[in-house]
């Protein structure tokens, strides 16, 4: 009888962290482990195991909690190494890890094309038209000097981000895309809207 799989397909491919580390000598300290999901990036992402700690039986015995392990490692994400040790615990149950064989380590960790770092993005931008009119009207009503109001832009900044907002008098290296901007390909360019 042929096997028929049911349920949704997943993107994960591999084993949980403990499934790999539990079978290795000295719990795999010093070995390189990669996540399959991070292989979509052109730059290499991997972790180097430094310390492994098992966890006591959790109070809530969900299957995911049962599979967890606490690991400290040197984390390299998209070719950039984190300055401090990185703890993997919450994501350790994901069946998405794979062990890199020792003879492949050097090849896997080689980063030929590091990302361009430190984009400087503009600090402020103009308000949407109607809101801008309202703000200017308010200014007029309060008797202030009417000048173009500037909206402070909030960027998502994390340890991995390669951009930052411009400081005080710094000029941005990248312009901010507003509205529809320029499409990634000409076939997707909305002509009529861009003419507005």
């Amino acid at each position: 009888m042929p096997i028929k799989y049911i349920g949704k397909s997943i993107d994960f491919k591999g084993k949980t962290l403990w499934e790999i580390l539990g079978n290795l000598k000295n719990f795999g300290v010093g070995r390189i482990i990669a996540r399959n999901m991070f292989e979509r990036y052109p730059e290499p992402s991997y972790i180097k195991i430094m310390k492994v700690e098992t966890v006591p039986n959790p109070e809530t015995n969900t299957p995911d909690d049962m599979r967890k392990v606490r690991v400290w490692c040197e984390n390299t994400f998209r070719g950039r190494k984190f300055p401090e040790l990185y703890e993997v615990f919450a994501t350790s149950y994901k069946a998405d890890y794979k062990l890199i064989p020792k003879y492949e380590e050097a090849e896997y960790c080689k980063c030929d094309n590091p990302r361009v770092h430190n984009k400087v993005l503009p600090k402020t931008t103009s308000f949407p038209p109607l809101l801008r009119e309202l703000i200017m009207r308010d200014m007029k009503a309060r008797g202030e000097v009417v000048e173009e109001p500037q909206l402070k832009i909030i960027y998502n900044v994390s340890q991995q981000s390669h951009y930052r907002a411009a400081e005080n008098d710094e000029s941005p290296t990248e312009p901010l895309q507003k509205g529809f901007g320029k499409a990634v390909t000409s076939t997707l360019q909305p002509h009529q809207v861009s003419n507005l």
Binding site: K4, I6, G7, K8, S9, T125, P128, P129, L130, L131, R132, E133, L151, K152, I153, I154, Y155, N156, Q177, K178, G179, F180, G181, A183, V184, T185, T187, L188, L196
Partner: protein, 213 residues
């Protein structure tokens, strides 16, 4: 902004709202009722994962990034604006001060009203007292008058009784009264003939009855 709007031809025609029923699309709840579980035939059906072309994916990601950044910035702007205003509004010292000022103002108005009402009340009480005294006096007079009339009536009755008591048959007068009664018999019998004459008593004379027409 308005000039931009004016440049693009914004024309809304009546045809856009005409009732053309061929344009209507009736939407029915075309599936199982919501409270029923997954149908048996659909239980193990796995919907295929959407295949988005790489170009489209990249474009959508780019657009959403722009959108999210802008919305986040606007949210931040509004939060900051209104939170700052709130802080000013709920400055405790200012609040207390204004509260006290308001209280004093209200108190002054209240005192004024009380003063006004006091004057009015005194006037009213004095007037009411006067009226009450007047009323009491009137009532006293009326009562005295009533009393007087009552006394007079009683006097009248008494006088009448005294007058009447002269004819009362006392034990002393009893014999005389009996004597008088025997000597003066009274006969109340009478008859009426066809002509309307009343014939009184058995032996006494007759008189004509006046017939009321």
């Amino acid at each position: 902004m308005l000039s931009r709007l004016a440049n693009t031809k914004l024309t809304i025609t009546v045809e856009a709202f005409s009732l053309n029923y061929t344009n209507l699309q009736i939407c029915r709840w075309g599936r199982k009722p919501r409270w029923l579980p997954t149908a048996k035939t659909k239980m193990f059906r796995v919907p295929p994962r959407p295949q988005i072309p790489v170009e489209d994916y990249e474009e959508l990601k780019r657009l959403y990034n722009i959108y999210r950044t802008e919305i986040k910035s606007l949210k931040n702007y509004f939060t900051e604006k209104y939170s700052v205003e709130n802080v000013q509004r709920f400055d405790m010292e200012q609040h207390e001060k204004s509260f006290k000022e308001d209280f004093l103002k209200c108190n002054a108005i209240n005192d004024e009203w009380n003063q006004q009402i006091k004057v009015e009340r005194e006037e009213r009480v004095a007037k009411e007292l006067e009226e009450n005294i007047e009323d009491a006096k009137k009532r006293l007079e009326a009562r005295n008058e009533r009393q007087l009339i009552k006394l007079q009536n009683a006097d009248e009755i008494v006088r009448h009784e005294i007058e009447a008591s002269k004819d009362f048959i006392t034990p002393e007068k009893l014999d005389a009264a009996i004597e008088y009664a025997l000597n003066n018999p009274v006969d109340y019998n009478y008859a009426i003939d066809l002509d309307g004459n009343i014939i009184e008593g058995r032996e006494t004379g007759s008189r004509k009855l006046e017939i009321k027409q």
